[in-house]
Symmetry: D2
Subunit: 438 residues, 4 copies
């Protein structure tokens, strides 16, 4: 079974001048960047679902990607899939992977059966982890594919579904803990609505708040030290998803007393679907203290759905990477490729090309960010732009010592209005681009 | 000067069968709807800026709308504009108007001059209000047109701009109070950024939080009983505006301890630019306790900027109106037409057509919502959909008495999974549409 | 098998005041509208695929709609499906249906097998058509679901795929002819590209032109009198689809000498995905002489993919219907519901609700258009707006008798510039809305 | 007056390692790229309007960019502006500029006056051209800013406006000819509609066809050897613009017999507003034989209006440049910066930063395209992908010798279906990205 990926070469760093398409040209795990290894900054992870379960299905067409483990006895296939996955991961040489429960093992007749099946396959996964040294960045439970979740998991109008979801998450969280996962993620694909006509927003918000609270409580009960992460997305599959974007989830966490307990797993393509740049979402999360982990992919700038493509423009990505570096890195988080190969990419090596290009794009983006930081001019320009706030008036305002009346007096006293200064956007953009320029 | 609108007829209710284009066919101020007058539900208001200051300018073309008060001595013109505005408002017969400081009176050389000019014109406005009985729904300060605000008002990198804005808002808030305004609005048109490269999100958030806090404190100091409202918009003029949507502003208010003090003024076209339906934003605000007031307009579903057209599809609007009715109305808020006539609509009667069509669309939407409520089937279906949560397990969860473990046990105990139920979306949509059908 | 829809009532016209949710309130087949029956204007058709093959699958979730014919022996199920479909169609009482070859019968091992299977099931379909009097609006071949078509059908880089597609279309076209179909449709779901890096636009255009030419030639060879229709869509499943919109396909037809031979099947949701209103696409096709048939559905104004919902806002749709009426109707074309019930709509009656609401929305939109036409003011205003062109200068220009020099002389002679006139948009929108007002 | 730009340095090529922000690091006019000079490939041009007339005005705010020639006597200012413009152009060192008539000289009371004013200022421009050697890439007439054009120029319901536009275009075309312009452009900013309710699409299409035909005839009459170019844009300022995109304009030219006479000026930001990538539009125009010239800018991927920013991501742009190189260059066309500095960029040097960054981005994109071509693997993969079409069956099809029947026979004969091949998208994207990687 593992022979499926046997023909693929093992990926190695060969430097920028290599013309070997399977070589890494930028990603060098132990290279120091601003005092930390590249691997530590990026903590790159492969998504089990896209890379080993994705089959090229789309809303208008049948699967195109043949994999030996797509047919045959379900449990045997799941075990074979695990072996093949780690054979691929070994060749790729990245330190982490991520999984959904249902991608690892097939659903059984009952929740109890499903739990047992998951445990059985995870034993094999754990053995492979030990054998290879590959670690788990995060686990999660798939609360969106099965018809029972069509109207939501935690936000379902039927409390039995809530209970079922709780059972599934409890098991997946414990499994993540057992495997030494660094984080646990919740993506509420069906936590949203299709029409307001049958939806009670306030009630569903209360349900979702309770659910997440119970997850956090359980994490502490079992001693899981990883981070609980919520992954925002604005829509798709629902018409409207509750965890729209970073700012929305922040408000949700504040409302339910979960700030400090929960952080965010931000995905590039979800950011753009929500009308944000990826770097906006990262910078916002950092400013609000909820930056957790990243899903690295890209959408198509002209298509309005989640295309989940591998990143391949390092200059674009360097602005996101800059925000990560400014935030001091991702802590327990990392950079998971929530990306899939295209439907026509049916050759085994396509999967490897995709990952090699993705990791190298990330590495190059990090190197660009490093150069921006070391150069210092962009940060300096930003600091100088706000320098006026270091004065007496600014400090009084920021520390809460002023009033509208006092500020108005300050303005009236000068007699004339403030004089605008250039925002220097073109120069700053040139500068940022320059470090991507070779 | 007021002769400009003299040729326009006075608008009266004539019932659905009237073929008089200037007649109201649905809006009957004192008609009772679910126990309250139409006027009380809608509290309709005319936007001084669009209706009396708008000139047809667009990014590719010069003004097309001639008004006598667009030229001549600035202060004399402002006084004439006020007279003309009230001549129009009288003919239209709506109870409210809204204003920005700089649309009422021209900016002076200094803040002190500008304040004095505003006061002088507002005296004339106040006289017209007394003469006509027309009231002020809300006032606001224009903190976005002048170059000094190009990099933000409260979020400006220069604290002198912050101070200037404070002086302007203090004066506009006090003027609003003096005129008996029911609310005071802040729209942060320039509170956002054009590039993250020169922007410190955390610092600007702190500035904005301080500013709004100072406004709230000043409101209490001067005894203003109206509501302070923030108006969300996702972008335009900035690349990214901080007050993106209801959920984002909710999080901001929570962060700065302003929940309970500040509500939201939700605009239809801003909602759609942010990727939401208007009814989503209203329902969200109601669920979160921050529903304040509405800006009634519509965007173009194929264009990506703020087209600010008058509403004209009552069935569409009925879903928004339904959420207002469910929320028990808007309190001190109302429904302001933040809408403008098209650039080619250069005849004086075009302005009247626009308002008559808009108010009648709102009135008909309210009547549709009334029929939905009285029929009861939609609300009943929604209630039944969540009925399972009234059981013991659901109540334990919602009141905080459950845990992930207990819920998992509940799910495991049943042995089989929950069975999905139809969401009945097509039937509910048919039902809602039926009440718009004549 | 046909018992699946047995519990559904037979749909009848009961007039606007009926509160029976399964009654037609506006669609009265023989009601005369502007001298033609409603049925003749609308020629409504049910889409075999969405209504009888759709299963609630989406990119994030498994099927939710159970139908007895979704399992069991493939050919037996296909025959049962045909019986059930006509049982539904009888209850609904619409005159037409549409089909794809692969939705009627399963694909076989070879093209020859597939053809034989299709023929066998179509015999059953034909018997049902004779029994019920229900007719075929159009047939088509599914050239997008099978992996062989992943890189296109006619535009595939492999000519063997082109040949296979030709074989499939030949068979489907002949079957459509045999069943008395009024049109034959081609939708090029995979005729587009995912990346320009592997795509030769010019060559693929040549292939597509040849393919369509061969279809037209074959139509004449077999004596098919129906219309060949191309269905535009801008994207999805491909990143970019060649038949983007009406104007694009018009250019394609002109380039390949196919104007006069081929018309367009315009879909509402495809129009909006392409950045057009539905009425724009209809009016454009009418102006260019290529208006053929319509796919009636709607997209979600906030989502960026093909949601294919049933139409339910008659006022919105009345503007599209107005263009159809102005064009004198659709000729051999009709109005096919290319619409599907939502994933949560799992009850059998949901399917009936959807169609009843859809047909009534169309009927009411037609009645609104009738009122607009009979009132005459909108058409009159439009005629008057262009009246100047009836003068000598205008006629000389339009008939090709003028030159830039002569026109410039005309302008210079007057000495002053032309004076703009109001476009009267608000009044016209009010008027159009008024006829939707009950 | 020309002292405004006096403090700016003269821009020179200093190579990739220069840290001088005003140095060119990639653009070296005479460097040979694939056998032609960089300057010949790019033919870069500065847009007179954005660079010397733009003032920072936006729909929500007043001008921010002070220029000495924005006030004072209109004609004197226009002359001063011309001097300043050429002072800037000299410092920048680009070979071309482009202009609109009304940006060069102010409109007069009558068309005759306006023409005279334009001639007078163009005399100064011509003198500056002779002095500096800077050439005119194209001229155009502004048919969108003045209120007379609010309902269109050629498509205006009033034929007097058509005549006025003819007079203006005749004059601008002759002026362009006199100045040795390489092309003449028509952008129909107001050739579209705001509402279909007052619009006759067919009639307006006829008017527009006549207008363009008259322009082409006049070009020949006066012996202008440059190319007539139409510039597509989908919307803004109108709700819907007729010249939507390349494919739409192609159809228009075909319909009016203008293929061979007219080519296209494609703008990046217009392409993305229309839902296309820039490279798609270029490749389409090349395939259809209508590739003329380019407007180099970029839009914001999250904003829905024309932001007209300077290009700054060479990897992105390299895909567009690759299509230009494949098409053999732009002939008489060139690459005009239809780009403007941001509203906050109020310092004189911001304008220079913008152009330096833009030209260098273009140069680097060209160098990336060169490397892609020289490497050859991408082109080779594409050629191999279609190799099957070189066989007997493929050639028979492409040369018109086949039929649906014959092709079907071909498919049936083989008995089994074609086998899909990988599209290799990830590998090709990696390859393309690699050449941008330094």
């Amino acid at each position: 079974m593992s022979t499926f990926f046997d023909a693929l070469p093992t990926v190695r760093f060969e430097g920028p001048d290599s013309s070997n398409p399977f070589a890494l040209r930028y990603y060098e795990a132990q290279r120091l960047v601003l005092g930390r290894s590249m691997e530590d900054w990026l903590r790159p992870a492969v998504a089990y679902w896209h890379s080993f379960v994705g089959n090229g299905l789309d809303p208008f067409g049948a699967p195109t990607h043949g994999r030996p483990w797509f047919s045959g006895d379900a449990m045997e296939s799941a075990l074979n899939k695990a072996d093949a996955a780690f054979a691929f991961l070994e060749r790729l040489g990245m330190p982490f992977f991520c999984f959904h429960d249902r991608d690892v093992a097939p659903e059984g007749e009952t929740l109890r059966d499903s739990n047992a099946r998951l445990d059985q396959v995870l034993e094999r996964v754990q053995a492979q982890m030990q054998r290879t040294g590959i670690r788990l960045l995060w686990g999660t439970a798939n609360l969106f594919s099965h018809p029972r979740y069509m109207a939501g998991a935690a936000t379902n109008p039927d409390p039995e579904v809530f209970a079922f979801a709780a059972g599934q998450v409890k098991h997946a969280l414990e499994a993540t803990h057992r495997l030494g996962g660094a984080n646990y993620v919740l993506w509420g694909g069906r936590e949203g609505y299709d029409t307001l006509l049958n939806t009670d927003l306030k009630r569903e918000d209360a349900q979702l708040g309770r659910f997440l609270t119970m997850v956090v409580e359980h994490k502490h009960r079992i001693g899981f030290k990883g981070t609980i992460l919520v992954e925002p997305k604005p829509m798709e599959p629902t018409k409207h998803q509750y965890d729209r974007d970073v700012a929305t989830v922040y408000g949700f966490l504040a409302r339910h007393g979960l700030l400090g307990e929960v952080k965010l797993n931000i995905e590039a393509n979800h950011a753009t679907l929500a009308g944000h740049s990826f770097e906006h979402e990262i910078a916002t999360a950092a400013a609000l203290g909820v930056l957790g982990s990243l899903d690295m992919n890209r959408g198509d700038p002209q298509n309005g759905w989640d295309t989940d493509q591998f990143p391949n423009n390092a200059q674009d990505l360097s602005l996101a990477m800059l925000e990560v570096v400014r935030a001091g890195g991702l802590g327990t988080g990392g950079m998971n490729f929530d990306a899939k190969i295209r439907r026509q990419s049916i050759a085994p090596e396509d999967l490897l090309h995709a990952h090699v290009g993705g990791i190298d794009t990330m590495a190059r983006a990090l190197l660009i960010a490093e150069r921006i930081i070391l150069d210092g001019r962009i940060d300096q320009a930003r600091t100088e732009r706000y320098a006026g706030w270091d004065g007496a008036f600014g400090q009084t305002v920021l520390t809460g010592g002023s009033s509208l009346e006092a500020a108005a007096e300050h303005a009236l006293a000068s007699g004339i209005g403030p004089r605008p200064r250039s925002g220097q956007q073109e120069w700053l953009e040139n500068l940022a681009g320059r470090f991507a320029g070779g």
